[in-house]
Subunit: 244 residues, 2 copies
Amino acid sequence: MPIGVLKLFTSPHKKDLRALRNILGFIPGNYSLYRLALRHKSMAIDTHKKGVKNSNERLEFLGDAILGSVVAEVLFKKFPYKDEGFLTEMRSKMVNRSHLNSLSKKMGIGDMIDYDAKLNNQGNKNSSLFGDAFEAIIGAIYLDKGYEFTRHFIINRILIPHVDIDQLEQTESNFKSRLLEWSQREGKEAVFELLDEKSHGQSRLFTVRVLINGEEMGTGQDFSKKNAEKNAAEKACLALNILA
Amino acid sequence: MPIGVLKLFTSPHKKDLRALRNILGFIPGNYSLYRLALRHKSMAIDTHKKGVKNSNERLEFLGDAILGSVVAEVLFKKFPYKDEGFLTEMRSKMVNRSHLNSLSKKMGIGDMIDYDAKLNNQGNKNSSLFGDAFEAIIGAIYLDKGYEFTRHFIINRILIPHVDIDQLEQTESNFKSRLLEWSQREGKEAVFELLDEKSHGQSRLFTVRVLINGEEMGTGQDFSKKNAEKNAAEKACLALNILA
């Protein structure tokens, strides 16, 4: 019996290890990394080291980067004739917080997260708790097993079974449409206003704001007017809590 | 003589291959990837495939992600007691366009880029040409040689010789200070104004704008007022062309 499997019977954490094995499809090497990845900041432990509290936020930073790389490569290879604007937009659809939250729940990571139960009572539906832990787990896998392993894990255990890239391509997850649909549903008026347009050599920088029933809910700037509107809409979606 | 070295004498691109070997420290496997990485969009070639023009933009998308991952890991390990806010800020100092532009020039990549000379005549000092090609080269190395090779390349050939992380940590590359320094130098008045403050559960969303001599040059939103100001300052630096 390989030593990894032995741990499932002998480790003091055997219950957790078995749950992780079921979720991840492999037996964690360094258990404490995964435990840390599942520790939300509301349960941070004071490490007594220079005032740093131990939670999954650092691992999330790392995992976010690794996930971004793997998804970038997958899209780069899957869409050889699409430009970088398309690739960037597809990636943001795949790794946005609400998509990661739902992936995290689908995979059963949610049930393993340590967090302060009070958080849940506030009815904060858009909590990024799940997506954060998901990214932190990716960070833990990377430190535990290296890039190639993590890349295969992301592709074979997450993207292939859980993410329909072709369907995502069709989905209008554009913030502007989301905001407009929401406004229509709620009987509110959404208006985009061009506030400013500045020349910079060949390009122009656009500043746009979006008003909901006359109240400014977000502004955006970009060298493309469409993107400036999208940025403003994203801020408004955030402010209105309609991202999920 | 290994086959790679043979190419330096027999390939039709031997001159380019030698130049690349000198810059990168290794002999490229797939030459055409590197050539594409050095092709600015102003020199895009029509591939006659679904209207896509071939330039380094797709490779830049990939390289940007790979570079982000490697830098994330380096910082994660170098600063075990720093929180993710610090790590994020350090990374943005390391991979911001002006830093990548200067790295690209230092390494000599700049001289190899194919771009429309007219671009240079516009005196566009902040051109992202060099930084873009730098990232695209990272993307090419990744496709040619894999993650571990690229990771070692970035660490040993770029970060160790060219980037003083400890010094960057001290540098105030914060956009707000940059903007304030610039204003002082130019004898202009920079004012940050809080436009709005909205409650969202426990957090508040701040909207801030920055005025230069009374003219709005950028707005920013964030759940921290400091970051909202930083965002507004970044937009203003962009608009004023003082990022480099």
